[in-house]
């Protein structure tokens, strides 16, 4: 069991350790950002001033590929120790404690862009056009026969009953190889949300912009690390104050 003064000393050393790590991380972040800015300027020189500006990002449908996941401090050393000071009483050490939130970077790797081509077969002409690259002729002929039969049925039902509901059910059963969702024929629905923001600046972007993107991706990781270190620092400060007040 350490004496209170020894505990205080160890806390001071811990604070200095964290401060050192913090300064190093800040320095690395600054260097990365500087390199990122430099590469961005070079890309701007290549593409033009207006092609790499805020106009590209302000109205874009963006989707974050890097987020932070909050973990409630797995490290037991930093657990349950942050004092939450009330705004009315700053000096008093409140008893309400909460866990230290530690961030970990979460990268969305799976492509989110969904491309669902929805097609509807309404008549024979449309069907033959969509199936023109199919090699197996027999299956195409069979399918065409089915389609023509279905079309005849459709005409008969429309003549006989004049109801649209039966026609609809027949239409959906013309060919089960093609999905039918009841939308307009051949309508392609594509989600506009961008996962890779590089595409906002064009398809063939200069290498400098790619390098800049890499630097900023690394900078995000450092920002998360700095944020965690600052949380640790605040926590150690609170512990130091608590120990000091207990000594007095």
């Amino acid at each position: 069991m350490l004496s209170p003064s020894e505990q205080l000393d160890s806390k001071v050393l811990e604070i200095f350790d964290v401060l050192e790590q913090l300064y190093e991380a800040q320095d690395a972040l600054e260097k990365l950002m500087k390199d990122g800015f430099f590469n961005m300027s070079r890309a701007r020189y290549n593409l033009g001033v207006k092609r790499v500006s805020a106009d590209q990002i302000l109205e874009a449908e963006l989707l974050a590929s890097q987020t932070v996941v909050l973990s409630e401090g797995d490290d037991c050393e930093y657990r349950n120790c942050v004092e939450k000071t009330s705004p009315t009483d700053h000096e008093a050490q409140t008893e309400s404690v909460q866990t230290i939130p530690l961030f970990s970077l979460h990268k969305v790797s799976a492509p989110v862009e969904t491309k669902a081509a929805k097609t509807v077969t309404t008549n024979k002409q449309d069907f033959s056009l969509r199936r023109r690259n199919v090699k197996d002729k027999d299956s195409v002929e069979n399918c065409e026969d089915d389609a023509s039969e279905a079309l005849n049925k459709l005409k008969l039902t429309e003549k006989g009953e004049g109801s649209a509901s039966t026609g609809q059910s027949d239409r959906t059963s013309t060919c089960d190889q093609v999905p039918d969702d009841g939308d307009a024929p051949g309508k392609a629905v594509k989600s506009k949300r961008q996962l890779n923001p590089l595409t906002l600046f064009g398809i063939l972007v200069p290498q400098e912009l790619r390098t800049s993107q890499k630097r900023f991706e690394e900078a995000v990781a450092f920002a998360v690390q700095i944020s965690n270190l600052k949380h640790k620092l605040c926590h150690l400060q609170a512990q130091y104050k608590k120990l000091k007040s207990s000594m007095i």
């Binding site: 800015f37 939130p101 979460h106």
Partner: protein, 122 residues
């Protein structure tokens, strides 16, 4: 709710044009369903009130975990940043293209500096 929790929290950015472009390129930018972005581009025409309002709106949003702000912009709204003492969202001051990072201006590091007085080391 579970999906949102699994996806994690966003990183918001308040900065000049290049800082915002850079971090959006880095993959932190997102436009939500209400068409509200998690970044703000500050230029010479942006008022301090606008920056303050945006910062407060980021603090209120529960899907934001970290707010990155250029240190020269943070200086403009220092009183608001100093009054924020909750761990989430964490406010992080970063350098900008024009001005380097100065640790003596950082809110958290200033608090750490004020922790030790000369009497402690006698």
């Amino acid at each position: 709710m579970a999906i949102a929790a699994a996806r994690g929290k966003l990183i918001a950015v308040i900065g000049d044009e290049d800082t915002c472009i850079g971090f959006v390129l880095g993959g932190v930018g997102e436009m939500n369903k209400n068409r509200k972005a998690n970044f703000m581009v500050v230029d010479k025409n942006t008022s301090v009130g606008e920056i303050e309002d945006t910062f407060r709106s980021f603090l209120r949003r529960d899907d934001i975990g970290i707010i990155l702000i250029n240190q020269n912009i943070a200086e403009m709204i220092r009183h608001v940043i100093d009054s924020h003492d909750l761990p989430i969202p964490a406010v992080l001051e970063i350098p900008s293209k024009d001005s380097p990072y100065d640790p003596s201006k950082d809110s958290i590091l200033r608090r750490a500096k004020g922790l030790f007085s000369a009497d402690d080391f006698r």
